[in-house]
Symmetry: C2
Subunit: 214 residues, 2 copies
């Protein structure tokens, strides 16, 4: 599904291949067009034709490489992992989680609402749903270092389940802003971070040591 | 929007009104048909015509009372609050929250997936979104007694913010099952409940006393 094969374009005669050049540029144009269309018109306004027109590429290029709207959305989500994003490193668990939650809150309340539109689209397309899952998996995996650092600083016991702690810290943001649709609460990032940090300190995410550690 | 006006039906001559009788019965038939159609075909298969056909009522009845699919979904969600549901009362905060989370997990993983289909539909229709918000508000408000009871038993400090505690306890269920779409984890209801209870015990949801209490 992902457009990794550098086929020659349909516009014009075959040219010498520059791996990553033309293919990467067209991918960027098309994915930018998807985001713009999604921000302006939402999922219902998104078609391969409108994306091709906005990107300035031939519609058959979009069709051949991405197949349909689900394929376009999946590639937008997959492309989002292709960055060097790292979680905040402030020196304390609670402050790291607060800063992370502030990033999440900003993303979920940005205008145009690209991130929430992508989440909404994941209920419409299996391909987008799987890509959204992969993106969250990537982000949570990258965030585990926040917990590792807190363990190394002695803030948390060893054998703390990083993923459970991270989900506890961040889930209230998604719950309020995506599902409950409550008004923006500037205290929420800090409160949810503090809740998770207090629970962690009280042993909520402690795992029994695995056999290999004994 | 809600079908409260007991207009005479369009089928047959006007009859003597039996308040709540025929109107309530037709509402029940129509809302049951919405749930069945939604479970079988999802939002995209839902039209006022298919609902009318399945309910065995005239299409203009559905159109006049509910307007469109969004109106039908909103009334399904509003009708869901019209029950005597109460949260579990087991004698301890953690066990109450665990039992509540088990109810949520069951609802979110049931087949056919009515609850998740309604949540997904709330991204398609403003009317459904507002009704989903009202339903959650109703449910969280009813659950506050779980926290009140824990305060009265001395498990929690007075001035505990019940809503924040309840959202912390339940948000990981929605996050995993609706957004992250992780495989069912039978430990999750208990773990999320225990996390919130431990955080509460550590003062995560403590509010300063209000002026009226001093």
């Amino acid at each position: 599904m992902t457009p990794t094969d550098p086929e020659p374009e349909d516009a014009g005669p075959p040219t010498r291949r520059r791996p990553g050049g033309r293919t990467a540029r067209i991918r960027r144009q098309v994915l930018d067009a998807v985001l713009t269309e999604l921000g302006e018109h939402g999922y219902d306004g998104l078609t391969t034709d409108t994306v091709a027109a906005r990107a300035g590429v031939h519609r058959t290029t979009v069709y051949r490489r991405w197949g349909d709207v689900g394929g376009l959305l999946a590639d937008v989500l997959d492309a989002a992992s292709d960055d060097d994003w790292q979680p905040p490193d402030t020196g304390s668990l609670e402050a790291d989680l607060t800063a992370l939650n502030e990033e999440i809150q900003s993303a979920l309340t940005a205008q145009p609402p690209i991130v929430t539109a992508l989440i909404a689209a994941s209920f419409r397309s299996e391909k987008a749903a799987h890509a959204q899952q992969r993106l969250w998996e990537d982000r949570y995996a990258r965030c585990e270092i926040v917990v590792d650092r807190a363990v190394r600083r002695g803030e948390l016991p060893p054998h703390t389940d990083a993923r459970r702690l991270l989900v506890a810290a961040t889930a209230p943001l998604y719950h309020h802003l995506v599902l409950l649709r409550t008004p923006l609460d500037p205290q929420l990032p800090r409160q949810a971070a503090r809740t998770a940090a207090l629970a962690a300190g009280a042993g909520a995410f402690a795992e029994p040591p695995s056999a290999s550690d004994t």
